[in-house]
């Protein structure tokens, strides 16, 4: 009976905690044109301000080092088309990483240079295939962004059911060990 009285506050507590979140660091990155941008955030508990962000290329060579701003955001223009690996580090043991694959630069890797002069030289009213690809890429990136953001935020979020499940597991383990100890005592005499 006493055990239940002790567990009651815990139950109330977990009700309050539900909806609250773990604080795993995650790094959100999106590609628009050749700019990689996004933010570092803790699942459910805000952005990571002034966190160290390092960018390495496919060969592991460091190509960029920046810090996130007051909103945890960053933006970096990729110099060339290749796979980039981003690592965010808050400086107290929280590290998160993400990769922007070279394939996602598709619109840029098309061999048409994207200078203004070319656009002027092109016949009026005509759009090259590369330009269309770039426009579509930008539009898709813009529309997908909220979706990916929501997914990243939802993944790893602490749910009430999970917390109750974990507590149930611990109570179960306690019951199991009590049972084991009782058996051991029964055997002894």
């Amino acid at each position: 009976m006493k055990l239940w009285r002790a567990l009651l506050p815990l139950f109330v507590l977990s009700l309050m905690v539900s909806g609250a979140d773990a604080h795993r660091l995650k790094l959100f990155a999106t590609l628009e044109d050749s700019t990689i941008s996004g933010y570092a955030f803790f699942v459910g508990s805000g952005r990571a301000q002034d966190a160290d962000l390092r960018i390495t290329d496919a060969n592991g060579k460091e190509v960029g080092a920046l810090r996130t701003d007051a909103k945890g955001a960053y933006s970096w223009k990729a110099p060339s088309v290749q796979t980039y690996h981003l690592v965010a580090n808050t400086g107290d043991g929280h590290v998160a990483d993400t990769t922007i694959d070279a394939k996602r630069f598709a619109g840029l890797s098309a061999n048409t240079p994207d200078t203004a002069e070319d656009d002027e030289n092109a016949p009026a009213g005509s759009i090259s295939a590369a330009q269309i690809e770039r426009i579509v890429d930008a539009a898709v990136a813009r529309q997908m962004r909220p979706l990916i953001e929501a997914y990243e935020a939802a993944e790893g979020r602490t749910r009430f059911n999970d917390i109750m499940g974990g507590i149930g597991m611990i109570i179960g383990l306690a019951g199991l060990s009590l049972w084991a100890q009782a058996r051991r005592r029964e055997k002894k005499p």
Binding site: H23, G93, G166, I170, L178, Q181
Partner: protein
């Protein structure tokens, strides 16, 4: 903060932490008696649920560790308690990691166990008010020790993830204060309502 994720620490640190953790958990389980099991489970679930709740602070976010409180109430049983809670957090929420489980157990539970062993006899003899003060200081100290051990684990592993002293101070100082109050409040409450909970810590 105290939950170091996978892929950050070097192999020697992981193995070292793992070996110490296995030994410590085995010791804790060996010394555990029937009457210790319920309170071990209660504090394990308390730690499991509470340390999921994090607040953003500057570049990082902080959450309670309860090392001092667990150490005072549980003694060496803090190791199995923290082990189970961290394992569940890692598996269910990706909080911390499986390879770093050993290191994280040691970083969180060892300061609690050591400081708990030192102050538990004092807390048992003290009045509720004095017990609160002792437990508060002990809890704050545990947070500081955990911070130092996390720093040491990272520093020993690689220079890539060097810690910033500024960030550590900005996150651990407020946490020490909060933990001190929480630890002190809990112990004085237990002391007044259910003092026998503090009686039999080995």
């Amino acid at each position: 903060m105290a939950h170091i994720p996978d892929g950050v620490l070097s192999l020697p640190v992981l193995v070292g932490g793992g070996v110490i953790a296995v030994g410590a958990v085995a010791l804790g389980l060996k010394k555990i008696g029937d009457e210790d099991i319920p309170r071990t489970a209660i504090l394990a679930s308390g730690f499991f649920a509470l340390s999921l709740f994090a607040l953003p602070v500057g570049p990082s976010s902080i959450h309670l560790l309860l090392g001092g409180l667990m150490g005072i109430v549980l003694g060496t049983a803090i190791f199995p308690a923290v082990c189970v809670a961290l394992l569940l957090q890692a598996v269910m929420f990706g909080f911390g990691g499986l390879t770093t489980l050993g290191v994280n157990i040691v970083n969180i539970a060892l300061p609690g166990a050591v400081i708990g062993a030192i102050v538990a006899p004092m807390v048992q003899r003290a009045t509720p008010a004095r017990a609160a003060l002792i437990a508060g200081i002990a809890s704050a100290l545990c947070v500081a020790l955990t911070g130092l051990m996390v720093a040491a684990s990272l520093a020993l592993s690689s220079a890539d993830y060097m810690l910033s002293a500024r960030v550590m101070i900005a996150t651990y100082l407020p946490l020490m204060l909060v933990e001190g109050f929480v630890g002190g409040f809990c112990i004085s409450f237990v002391k007044r309502v259910k003092p026998e909970l503090l009686a039999g810590t080995a």
